[in-house]
């Protein structure tokens, strides 16, 4: 699956990174807590979140996240968009809630970047 497919499944608006829609993606992580993202997310995954501040982009950059999906119709601040453009991290915005966003992607073959916690690093 590519980011373009993700955009269509989620009827999402591409706010940053229109030129990167061909990027492949297989896994995702969803959280509103950046500390949990840092603890559990894996590189080359999607990050599904309801947070919109620039730290979401910083966190995504540190972890080599493929794209940020902002759920519940959240729109990033101007500052967040600027940073994402600078660091070349795509941001998509969908009106689906986090549960629906996750479910729709999972049903189409996107899996969790980890299944459950414990015993892994």
């Amino acid at each position: 699956m590519t980011l373009k497919d993700v955009k269509e499944i989620l009827e999402a608006d591409v706010l940053v990174g229109n030129d990167q829609m061909g990027k492949p993606v297989k896994t995702a992580f969803a959280a509103d807590l950046m500390s949990d993202v840092l603890a559990f997310a894996k590189p080359d995954s999607l990050l599904l979140t309801g947070l919109t501040n620039p730290q979401v982009v910083r966190t995504a950059d540190i972890l080599d996240i493929t794209a940020i999906i902002m759920v519940r119709g959240k729109k990033p601040s101007e500052e967040t968009v600027k940073l994402a453009e600078e660091l070349k991290i795509p941001i998509l915005s969908t009106r689906y809630i986090l549960f629906e966003t996750s479910g729709r992607l999972h049903a189409r073959g996107i899996t969790g970047c980890i299944e459950k916690v414990g015993g892994e690093m």
Partner: protein, 156 residues
């Protein structure tokens, strides 16, 4: 270990404002990539530095992060001018936090920072003095090089 030092640099981190939080970690990540450090180690060090930066921003007036790269390890030392940690063992517990509402709004302050720093490093030592500040020394080892000394060094 008397191994050769390939790179060393200190970075200043301003406390109190989230405006620039993460810029030092971004710089460190780019430096390590340029040095040819393996992707896995780069990512672990980047996470450690980012959590350190967030801690300095969240709790201290200012601080420094010092990065040292040798053939066998990446060492990260953070020092801050902050309130100090009264009970280090308690602070290390996942979920324990004294963070402000402002820090929590940014998606941090869930009591995962020090635990994450420990998780992603091979060694971690914390010393802290109340009213003075906190120092955290961490090491990410390049075990491949230690087990197989004939391999090329961590840096190209």
């Amino acid at each position: 270990m008397g191994e050769a030092l390939n790179f060393e640099r200190s970075f200043d981190v301003e406390g109190g404002s989230f405006q620039n939080a993460g810029t030092v970690s971004g710089q460190i990540k780019a430096i390590l990539k340029d040095l040819g450090v393996s992707t896995d180690i780069v990512r672990r060090v980047a996470i450690i530095c980012y959590e350190s930066e967030i801690n300095i921003v969240s709790y201290a007036k200012r601080g420094t992060i010092t990065l040292a790269v040798t053939d066998e390890a990446v060492k990260i030392e953070t020092k801050d001018e902050g309130p100090g940690i009264p009970d280090i063992e308690l602070a290390m517990k996942e979920g324990y936090s004294t963070a402000s509402a402002a820090v929590r709004e940014m998606g941090f302050g869930a009591g995962m920072g020090l635990a994450n720093m420990k998780k992603y490093s091979d060694h971690l030592i914390i010393t802290s003095e109340l009213g003075v500040g906190t120092c955290v020394k961490m090491m990410v080892m390049n075990f491949q090089k230690i087990l197989h000394p004939d391999l090329p060094p961590i840096t190209l």
